[in-house]
Symmetry: C2
Subunit: 564 residues, 2 copies
């Protein structure tokens, strides 16, 4: 028995081979890994009725060299024209570039690339050097009716980079990743869209040394994709960071933007507040490259004071108590926590396994105090801001939690979570290597509809035998929150996977959840948009599309459901 | 001398005669008055080189009975069709209705109505009873190409109700002022757009008694026009209340809206956060009736806890110190004050006169401590929210003020200001009665541009001899604030007034201020919009206009600059 338990699958520990499919679909740092721990591995075997022998031999690892058999459909003359704009060194037409810059990080894309399936790719990859390059590219592409697909950090989980109609993948992160202007008086920074999270945050944290600032700053935006997502992507797909409850969603953080569109180039004005009609600045947010190319953005920054951060963790006896307490906190008028996250009973129990708490004396104490498996719910968080403000939020959180029969676990679980905040998705490759699918969908929801949505989606997922469904809420507002569903199943058939995912999106739509809270829409959710928003609202988005892009060259082929 | 000083002008103390021009242009409650006090009256005489004899005889008081000589340009058949929709009792074609529901509260409209000048009026006034009425009206008007001008509380100061092309004035406040749904779980309320501020706030304050709620709530929105402005107007023209620094602008407070447009009826979805493309809910805000008619809105409400409110007042030695301190407060990450207001030196000195402080021993102390006339600046405010949160904001405000050499004046000035917060505009009629013009313009601005804008606008206004220019900032954000200019001059010639006002708007535009912070655009600011936003952004607003209103029947004739 002890021998059996000590078996560990041969999780991959090497960076993917250059030029391989795996180097494209692997999440995050090529040399970065996070393997399922013993508790999680044990659970996977138990739930999926698998044995160690099922983990003897990894399958479809995607180590083969990328091939792209799709013909290049733009002419030599057109290629030479683009070379003339950006320089030969910034044009890619090789198989690898075409597949890499035409794929994101969805489960479906990973499954396909593992099988060597490439169904779409850009004809050409361009790496523009500056706004002028983008203007020339858009003008020429417009004249020649060549599709353009902007590409930022590469982390889209909604088919945001699928070049459905071929054409150009416009890679913004290669050169257009510079800081353009820092304004400490206004607490704003203007950057090109291709800058990635770590470089952006580091620059702000080191503002005195790097920018000659008086203080240190933070972006306040930490999505799970932080390491491989770009500022432009955050804006284009309306991201929310893990501390959004305090700092706001990307929608709130953007002060102004500059776009190159087929209908012209413009920069919206920098005003903290204005009443000059509908705000074009907001109209552009979330347009996912379908109206034009974002070439710069001015963002709000926040004072960086990690020394004031406080960590807390509580365990609630039930999901209902956890929801009631977090609603009370969100509506309590004392400011919001930064990290702010409740896990439903299934996610809580998986979490206790993952953190090695299950089966320990601590867990016994927890059980004895009445916090039972598949009922209890974990709540973790941080408080931010000025010292006394942060303390007061923590004090109020404690008061509300006690009133809802929660037990404090101290700051440990929150710190533990923070430590792994960006690396959990790295486990996907390990699971996929042995035929286990793990994926996520998320939805915004008002308080009054939360339980209906949670139950409705769980009902569908759990109706499938041997399927894990973990849910958390992690972005809070006075009027509601989000629900983030993580589902794990033994499944590697593409059609089965697609049907299953479509069924979940159906359920979210049917139960009144928003079709995305912070993943955006892309091509994945697009087919549901008309039913979700209704034709009159879709007509508004299509009218804007016709205005900005009358020839339909900007991210055509389904994104946002504009040209389905 | 003492005899001379005791003279008081015979300020009007009677409600305007029914049917008179004055009953239309008078601000606020017909029976409500606030007269200039002795200090203010003395200043007016001194600055404008007037004597008591100039205040012996009021002029152009507008007591005559309203006449409208403009022909009704819609046919009898069309009138009968509208009567068929809303009922005869909800149709007005009399002179008084036509003038009243085709005018707002601008200085220019008051000057014209005092002279009996009526340059535009609706052909017909309709009082729709519900959404279905509005749908039928819009459908018929669309078919017949009859302009529609929505009218809410009547307090527009941007020619928002001028029926430039005749047609229909659609009065939303007569019937469509009901509460439709209260959702305490979500902390939202759905109302028809015609409900006015006091009824709306009272219902929320009395939620336990009126709505069967567990708690009391507040709208958090208190514009100076509160008493005679409607929820629909707040949304249509993007209002900001006097506690907006804490509660947010109306733009932030609206969760969803329902519109009847020539292109169809739709209700945006209720989500606290969503990433489903550009937000149609936001696209409609600030459209000032040019895209369609708002028929209901769901708004966020806040817990009502006046017992936690704290009042503060400080005096800064200079405007620069006041601006630096309020910037530090706005960026300090401890939450924002509710009322939050700094007055520039000229407004501060007028305020000390108005509040009867000038010339008292207190003022001597103030001078001795180095706070000099035409240098010192008043800062008043309140803190809101949960008790310890409110205390902590007040504590931080105090800390920052001390660091910027401010002297505390206790809570008195803030309470005094709060007491008169809605009634100061009532003085306009008294001043106008004796040929003195008082008007305002306001602008949003980032911190780095604040002093340039303030100086640029003041330079223009003060270049006119014997002209008062008072400025305050009263809506704060981490990235900037607003500047609110109040100008007073002896002037009643319409052309002179128009030239002067245009000169100020020119200066605001030239110095980079937003063309409106919270008054909206209307027809007044519209001619500057193209230069302000630039053609590419105006083209976006025009593309939306073409989509919603292809025949141009919604608020045509200049509003927002869409059809100039």
């Amino acid at each position: 028995m002890s021998k059996k338990e000590s078996f560990t699958p041969a999780w991959t520990e090497e960076a993917p081979r250059q030029g391989s499919y795996r180097s494209i679909f692997k999440w995050g740092d090529p040399a970065g890994f996070k393997h399922p721990n013993r508790g999680f591995y044990g659970m996977v075997k138990e739930v999926f009725e698998m044995t160690d022998s099922d983990f003897a031999q990894p399958q479809e690892q995607g180590n083969e060299t990328v091939e792209c058999e799709l013909p290049i459909r733009i002419s030599g003359e057109q290629i030479r024209a683009f070379e003339g704009i950006v320089g030969k060194e910034n044009v890619g037409a090789d198989d690898y570039s075409r597949v890499k810059y035409g794929a994101g990080k969805t489960m479906e894309e990973a499954l396909m690339l593992r099988k060597g399936i490439v169904e779409s790719a850009p004809d050409l990859v361009l790496h523009p050097r500056n706004r002028e390059d983008v203007q020339k590219i858009v003008a020429y592409a417009s004249e020649q009716r060549i599709p353009i697909y902007p590409y930022g950090g590469g982390s889209s989980v909604t088919f945001g980079f699928q070049c459905a109609k071929g054409g150009i993948s416009l890679v913004m992160s290669t050169h257009m990743n510079r800081m353009l202007e820092f304004n400490e008086t206004n607490q704003t920074i203007t950057v090109e869209p291709g800058i990635l999270g770590p470089a952006y945050e580091k620059m702000l944290n080191e503002a005195p040394e790097v920018l000659g600032a008086k203080r240190r700053y933070t972006a306040g935006h930490f999505p799970q994709s932080f390491e491989y997502s770009s500022v432009g992507g955050w804006i284009a797909a309306l991201g929310s960071g893990q501390q959004s409850s305090y700092y706001g969603d990307m929608y709130d953080i953007v002060l102004s933007q500059e776009y190159v569109t087929p209908a012209g180039t413009f920069k919206t004005l920098d005003y903290p507040g204005t009443a000059t009609g509908p705000k074009v600045n907001d109209i552009m947010k979330g347009s996912e490259g379908t109206y034009g190319v974002l070439v710069s953005a001015t963002l709000k920054v926040f004072r960086h004071a990690p020394e004031n951060r406080r960590y807390f963790s509580y365990l609630f006896p039930t999901w209902e108590a956890a929801v009631d307490a977090t609603r009370e906190i969100s509506q309590g008028e004392f400011g919001m926590p930064g990290v702010f996250r409740i896990s439903d009973p299934e996610e809580t129990d998986v979490g206790l396994k993952l953190y090695g708490i299950e089966g320990t004396p601590l867990e016994k104490v927890i059980r004895l105090r009445g916090y039972k498996p598949m009922e209890r719910c974990l709540f973790i968080g941080t408080t931010e801001g000025e010292k006394a403000f942060s303390q007061n939020v923590a004090r109020n959180v404690k008061r509300v939690c006690k009133a809802h029969r929660a037990m404090s676990l101290g700051g440990y679980a929150a710190k533990r979570w923070e430590h792994g905040r960006y690396t959990d998705p790295y486990m996907r490759e390990d699971l996929n290597d042995y035929g286990i699918m793990i994926d996520t969908l998320e939805s915004g929801v008002t308080w009054d509809n939360l339980h209906g949505l949670h139950q409705g989606v769980r009902e569908f997922i759990k109706a499938r035998p041997r399927t894990i469904c973990m849910t958390h809420a992690s972005h809070f507002y006075p009027q509601g929150t989000n629900l983030y569903f993580i589902f794990i199943a033994r499944m590697n058939d593409l059609d089965e996977y697609r049907d299953f995912q479509a069924g979940i999106i159906d359920r979210i739509e049917k139960h009144g959840g928003s079709l995305s809270h912070h993943h955006g829409v892309g091509r994945m959710i697009a087919p549901w948009m008309e039913r979700h928003l209704g034709t009159p609202q879709m007509d508004v988005l299509r009218a804007l599309k016709r205005h900005f892009d009358p020839k339909g060259i900007m991210n055509p082929g389904g994104t946002l459901g504009l040209d389905l």
